[in-house]
Symmetry: D2
């Protein structure tokens, strides 16, 4: 049994100082979703993040967002599918180009924040996201929630999907995430996150806040990188997975 | 004998998290230079910074920059005086408007980074900076290096100047700062910064790196807010000044 | 009988050339809504637009938008009321500051595009928009659609409202505008726009696309400034209004 | 005898309307330098520009700039070579990615404005520009002024150079361009531009403003796309070249 462990990284700016806090995470995760400048990051940060991830044998992918630095990509924008196609294309292409000059090939794309959420539900937007990825490179993988509009679009366009679960987010009984602005949406305790990760990897279920057991078949588990307890959580999750006999390794 | 203690604050982004690290500084300084969005900051950060500073009885001013978030305002841009006038005006006016809705009036303006440096030397740019401030509100004070082009321009346009020295920057024998990219430009040790601050406040001199004693008549002393040791330095400087019998208080 | 004639102006960028096409409009309208940099415009454009409008005796106001240059402010963003408050405040304050250095006081604020539409319907967002204006200067007037959430919020916060009708937009039977992406939303023929303007000013009605006569009490009529036929339409509207015995003059 | 005819295109924004004025140029030129978003353009404009150019059999390349929309890339920024490397890489890579999804490969890179000028003179910056291009794709060609630092850097790094002359810019006796802010820097008359183009293509000289005949061996001739007379000039240049027996065709 094996599982991939992914985190969002490169979500800072070079201008404001030398803050490669992601480095501790790289010893723990197996896949990194690198911000592409629309919600965070810039060319220097991308290059340094790709370099640090690769040095730590972490596989890298793009983490495109709505164009919204002010809102950190967490606000839905009433963009047309064509605008979303252009935005995703621009971001994937920049990150791929920078990676290429570092001798690295992108493995996957995982939409960020509001783009991930809208892509999970809205068929025409999911189609736009997947089309941009496939047009650029049909061998890229897509990290997406199981049974989402993104998965359907990827199947149609023959993009391979890596289904994702979250170690440190609470779920609703219907299998969707509790929105971030709801109390209890984010799991802050390392042990609770570790338990949820093991359940996902071993039993292929998640327990919703009301106790419902939801079957959830995932290949990768996300741990967050942008909270104060990020490293503690990633560390607890990794240890618990290995203790449960799961091999933590990047999907291919 | 008295001196003002100032620091640059609000140099972060609301989007990327809840990081009001400036709060510890506000217990130590008497004047705060608030970033206006061109090199760092945004409306939410400005509002929260003004509120926190005011609550701590710290006087606030604007800290305008070249439009350069990528370079954190540290890179000179070949802007015309008219462009510099527009840029300064836009920044001062935004911060003043946000302050006004918080019931706060700006006391001063201190140019940031490359704008401060070019204004210190270039007469037409100094004139543009001072003109924008005076056009907006002739009662604003200007924080500037002693005997600089900014001071001359302010005298011409009847803007009151608060001459500034630095506790934690090294000086050249001609009284100018050693550029940031030169080894030793920034003083990291709290005791060394405290000694330099006391010398500035009591003896009105600074000792250049080669040992030269430079007379420097200043009303305000800057401590940096953006380094890991910022609070330790500000704390050592404040204690040393008070121990030397100097009243630390905002100039008016 | 009298009516105000307003248009959105300053919706271009100084960087890309010397394009003050608004100048022809200024001979025809009585109020100008000046873009504040979030959907279009910059400090230089604002200054030049205010100057040109004032020289032509056109009263100026702010035209704040969602932060969305890519979408020209026409895309709704899922911003919180607090973010909208900050965005409106930042824009009004910049334009007011630049106007002040030109010796000009703003008369009014008219939200742009998606912000106007969301403010017309959403009570908490309307409240945020009006609060930002009132906090900055309670003497500013608000241009808004009649009987909208913006009007209710303005009444609550004692901001005077100037109700607005459109000469060159088609209406739905419920009195709302036909969305821009629907065929026939924009009236391109000067005569048709002129007829609608006269009906609004004299009979206080508008005729919806299905023939319904909708009572609409407005004090100002908007003509668009960003279409090829803008000047022809504004010119026909102005002539028709004056021919019908209406005095075209800015509301106060 | 043959020569390439190039112009800068895609220097507008999709948000502000549907302005593909470049289309007339595409019937006249053989190579297009497409803005990459830093001084003008955006993903939609890039895509539409690449599509229109390709449909007209015009070869496309990247036109990277300093990050400066306010100054249209005409202002030098005191960026480090590493920052310039990152900026060029980001721009070339975005344009190449968008081109790739249109089934188009970039042929060349031509730096824009202040980046072109600084690259012509400054060896370390020229090195940074060329390194970014070569790291991304060593088969890209570089359009640069003859005998410039850019040419030296390209020779060192084995990038093929297409030397460039200007039909509609005046030259100094040393072979450099008269700066844009000097009266007479830009040639507005189609006949004068056409004569200069023919001289460049046939006699391999240019006549400086003081009458000096300067030998200038060029493979491509630039006509400007952003002036009111752009199409008239390009048309006159093309006709004159063909009339003189020169084949106008893209270099390879």
């Amino acid at each position: 049994m094996q599982v991939d462990l992914n985190a969002d990284v490169g979500e800072w700016s070079a201008g404001s100082g030398d803050n490669l806090g992601d480095i501790d995470l790289f010893r723990l995760i197996t896949s990194a979703n690198v911000a592409c400048g629309f919600h965070a990051g810039d060319a220097e940060v991308m290059r340094r993040t790709i370099r640090a991830a690769t040095r730590a044998n972490v596989v890298v992918g793009a983490h495109p967002s709505f164009r919204d630095r002010e809102g950190f990509g967490r606000r839905e924008i009433a963009a047309t599918p064509q605008e979303i196609y252009d935005d995703v294309l621009e971001q994937v292409t920049v990150l791929a180009g920078i990676a290429r000059t570092e001798g690295v090939a992108l493995r996957h794309v995982k939409p960020h924040g509001a783009l991930y959420n809208t892509g999970a539900k809205d068929r025409s937007r999911a189609h736009a996201i997947v089309s941009a990825i496939a047009a650029f490179d049909p061998k890229l993988l897509l990290i997406a929630p199981p049974a989402s509009a993104l998965v359907s679009a990827a199947v149609e366009q023959r993009l391979r999907v890596i289904a994702e679960g979250f170690a440190d987010r609470s779920y609703q009984p219907d299998g969707s995430l509790i929105p971030r602005d709801v109390e209890g949406a984010v799991i802050h305790h390392p042990d609770a996150a570790a338990r949820q990760a093991v359940r996902l990897a071993v039993e292929h279920i998640v327990i919703a806040r009301d106790g419902t057991r939801i079957p959830l078949q995932v290949e990768t588990i996300c741990v967050h990188g942008d909270t104060p307890e990020a490293v503690a959580i990633a560390s607890a999750v990794r240890r618990a997975l290995e203790h449960a006999g799961i091999t933590v390794t990047a999907s291919t």
